[in-house]
Assembly symmetry: C2
Homo-oligomer: 227 residues x 2
DNA sequence: ATTACTACGTCTCGAGTAA
DNA sequence: TTTACTCGAGACGTAGTAA
């Protein structure tokens, strides 16, 4: 049994949309050509080949050509569409980052402890974070690159605020799971104070204790993507 | 902007199924080749071209290659999948037959009037047909061919029966609309007594009267397909 | 083992054109 | 107008092979 050639799927798709599943529909090769963005000659060849391989049936009366898709042709299209559909759906909806626990400068703890932030944390993520952020260095390039997409993804937005002297930038939170067990939030800062390879996490309790971590521990962070 | 080449969709589909929408996933060109049923070399070329046209991003560290689909690549796949999906869904779910009203031999009327049939008609299609079938000759080849598929489609099945002397074959009924207005049933007989170009219709009342028809009238019959 | 180059063969397309 | 042929150009895939 001959396989459906990949370049024929647009032709079959067009025929299908014209109702060629149950009825013989009359078409011209030039109109088909336009629709699949190929020449009239290519369209003609497509029909010929599809007929030869029994994906379609043709009835020719004079200049008029009528085409119907066979059940074999239809099921091939269903199969292909299902493959695409499945691959689009099944794409795992989380990002996994791996890295090493490092010491921060205490800056994160200072900023995140400001009232302008803690009030919003309480209402938007449901808790006031333990004072102190967990800094993780992403050792591999693939994780350093993967983190960049969070700039464009939508998380829980903690708005910027001002205390009269200066303004503090916004913070985006993404729910995450540390080492498959500890719930926490990955935070993306408007004004970051370190390079792309360091990420910061906050949590309700002290993660160094609950997850039994110390500097140099290898950690995994999984962030579900909900879109 | 370069278009996504049709031969690359299987590669993108495979990457997607490996989770390459959000994460960089590491793959080998030979495993990709196997999955898309092409050689390792072809797979390598595919990745190179996809990267060139910004459908994917690659990170190469030594022998290891990691790939992530770009948003451009993802949306192209969504687009294509939608086109296929739509063409599969939107296929008109009815068959239209056109033909000319002709006189039957009265045989249809005789058989369909037998109690073994009429009892089943009453319970399965909700009425006892007007005694007499409407015979329509399908003038065009495309309609003569289209009628053949009803052999394999499932309609309302009127079972065969025996009166002791002989058995009478089964009858399949398909709800139909005559000239867009009169409800009737297309009947497919196990033992037909005429050639493929003649179809028979039954209805509750006399269609020649209700639809104002006489021999030679051109008629249209639309049969919804429910599958 | 890996990726990806060159070389070559085959497939696909489109221009020209016949019927 | 149609469809579909021939044929040349270029796209695509694979074998062999280097790194």
């Amino acid at each position: 049994m001959t396989e459906l050639k990949i370049q024929h799927i647009l032709t079959l798709s067009y025929l299908l949309s014209k109702g060629a599943k149950y009825n013989y529909v009359s078409i011209t090769t030039s109109s088909l050509g336009k629709n699949i963005k190929k020449s009239q000659q290519a369209a003609s060849k497509h029909l010929l080949e599809l007929e030869q391989n029994q994906f379609i049936e043709r009835i020719i009366s004079g200049r008029n050509i009528s085409v119907k898709i066979t059940s074999k042709g239809y099921s091939e299209m269903v199969k292909l569409s299902a493959i695409l559909q499945k691959s689009l759906d099944s794409s795992p909806s989380h990002v996994e980052l791996k890295g090493t626990l490092v010491s921060g400068m205490g800056e994160g703890a200072y900023y995140m402890g400001l009232k302008g932030y803690t009030k919003q944390f309480q209402s938007k993520i449901g808790y006031v974070p333990y004072p102190g952020t967990l800094n993780v260095r992403l050792d591999q390039k693939i994780h350093q690159e993967a983190i960049k997409q969070f700039e464009t993804l939508n998380g829980v937005k903690i708005n910027s605020f001002s205390d009269g002297k200066r303004t503090y930038g916004w913070v985006k939170c993404f729910n995450a799971k540390l080492n498959n067990s500890t719930n926490c939030e990955l935070i993306i800062l408007e004004r970051t104070h370190h390079d792309d390879s360091i990420i910061e996490l906050i949590s309700k309790s002290c993660m160094r204790k609950t997850a039994k971590l110390k500097d140099g521990s290898k950690v995994s962070i999984k962030i579900p993507i909900n879109s």
